[in-house]
Symmetry: C2
Subunit: 352 residues, 2 copies
């Protein structure tokens, strides 16, 4: 359970939760356990996401399922979700019954919305349809990312600080676009980041067939024949079983050598090629290749989809800034307010 939490990470969600509480005049002690719970949920989501996506790297090292096996990774995620409930129940003594209940409700809603966002994305991948518009993407991302990364952290910070619900509503107007911009930047970094700083696999989203704003734009802007090829590429799975493939290539190379050296009759060669061809089909025919990924990357480059996505992320950043202005009579000047204000740039400027 400590594998992911002990790796260097931003602790963005607890930071936002604490800053919100403090900016609104609340005390650190009252929000600390709830803030820690948010980080625990985040780590549980990461573990299960990595299993679902068959990702190989997380925070610069092996994913939990790569290091410990898939069964243990699934169970560690479940254990974290179970342990996260304890501090929320202990909150009763710390912040009183009413606030503790509202925090519990916020966390339950967050868990449901996050799973629903994930469900929408997984269904899109399974159905291999890429006709979603920007609004579909934003609705999915609001659930998948914004709820647990921005909206709920601010909501809980505000509950702990004891402010009224109209202030919470104003905070959510600030949090929502931050989350959308954050996810768009996540998608951009996945394609264009400096791998040594990024800590994850570059272009993993393309291998996984993720419906990013970038890919949706590139496909929407392409010719019908490019679109058909992209769809065919994206219908294929990620390649797996690298060792078998290597050994098979060894068999094929041996046949090539024997033919070159005149050791095989035409009939023997034909038989062996036909059989190894069938074997190769069973190992590889549904898998994406590096050329497939290069084709998708080329499409994205030709359509200017990265720039397009940067523009949309910036638009959401501006929307967040306007929403923060509306909160100025609630949030006096403080280091906490400055931190929150800085998020509007951070979400789309970050390089990891």
């Amino acid at each position: 359970m400590l594998v992911y939490p002990l790796r260097a990470a931003k602790a963005l969600r607890p930071a936002i939760c604490i800053a919100t509480c403090r900016a609104l005049g609340g005390r650190l002690e009252l929000v600390l356990p709830s803030a820690a719970v948010l980080e625990l949920y985040h780590n549980a989501f990461l573990i299960h996401d990595d299993v679902e996506d068959l990702s190989e790297k997380r925070r610069d090292q092996s994913t939990l399922h790569e290091a410990w096996g898939m069964p243990i990774a699934v169970n560690v995620g479940d254990a974290m979700l179970a342990l996260a409930l304890m501090p929320l129940l202990d909150n009763m003594r710390l912040v009183g019954m009413g606030k503790a209940l509202r925090i519990l409700q916020a966390v339950a809603e967050m868990a449901r919305e996050t799973a629903e966002g994930q469900a929408i994305e997984l269904a899109w991948i399974r159905e291999n349809v890429f006709d979603q518009g920007d609004d579909d993407y934003e609705r999915m991302v609001e659930k998948k990312t914004s709820y647990y990364s921005f909206m709920t952290p601010m909501n809980i910070g505000a509950i702990a600080a004891g402010v009224e619900s109209d202030c919470v509503d104003a905070l959510l107007k600030f949090a929502r676009p931050l989350g959308v911009a954050f996810q768009i930047q996540d998608d951009i970094l996945n394609l264009a980041a400096d791998e040594s700083r990024y800590g994850k696999e570059i272009a993993g989203d393309l291998w996984e067939g993720k419906h990013t704003l970038i890919l949706l734009h590139a496909i929407r802007s392409s010719t019908p024949s490019e679109r058909a090829r992209a769809q065919a590429v994206l219908a294929k799975a990620r390649p797996r079983g690298g060792k078998s493939l290597q050994a098979l290539t060894g068999v094929e190379a041996a046949i090539d050598d024997l033919v070159r050296e005149g050791e095989l009759s035409p009939r023997a060669e034909a038989t062996l090629r036909e059989r190894t061809g069938r074997l190769r089909a069973s190992v590889t025919h549904v898998h994406k290749t590096s050329e497939d990924i290069a084709f998708l990357s080329g499409l994205i480059e030709r359509q200017g989809s990265l720039e397009y996505a940067r523009g949309i992320a910036a638009k959401h950043g501006r929307e967040a800034k306007v929403a923060l202005e509306a909160l100025s009579d609630r949030l006096g000047p403080s280091v906490h307010r400055s931190f929150l204000a800085g998020l509007a740039e951070y979400v789309s400027d970050r390089d990891r």
Copy 2:
């Protein structure tokens, strides 16, 4: 999310929860949402267990990950765990703050204990050590099975009925051995059930290397050389990738044919056999075979381990009966009490 819940099933956990509440004089309406939550947790656990064990059948049909893919199955489990929180929060209005909180605490403890039991078992499998005693097995099973199947359902039924904590303690003394006997019978059915009634794969536990009471007894009672072979067999993974293996067998058969027909020089044959041998090793060398499983089954039969396990299950059944006697002044005669009393036989007599 409805795939597993809509398949025919026993609804054992809600039945126990409701019967306990009613036998203690509590009202059905007050316990119904909590009882439903227990079934939801059970289904979430089943989905994730099936993923962890790579099981193929559940309730007579494909497991969720076989039918919908592993990513969706992991997320559906998470979504169920998230949705289960809502009725527990709504309980506040239904049963009042104090009882609702105690039920929430019981569920949180249950989720933690279940994940811990699962973690113990997965660690045993990963480390491939089979020297656990019956007491180790019972501790693991108390957490993995008894907590969420018997102890927490009775605990919640009692909380909803409003009884004091000494009555809850007495109920847990009844519930704990029921769960252990139930799991031992589960292990027995896995090896010896009528497949048409069982709804799961026969001998799946052996393929998965599960540390059942039966297998632990068989290994403990074997000769050192049998023990070593069992350990070597259990270190291997379940076979996967059947199609590639079939195609590879086709390549090898073609080489055999060509040799028989005099089409291959000795050098060509040697080269091809060496390369296909390497390929076979990469596809199969760590996988269990049917002979491996037959060896383990033979060991279990020779050591009388099924009968041994039946004896231990019966002992726990008797322990449960004694514990129920101690509750006779709390539980007046009723259909609900009869249902609970019947569990002592049911847990080890059931055939599915």
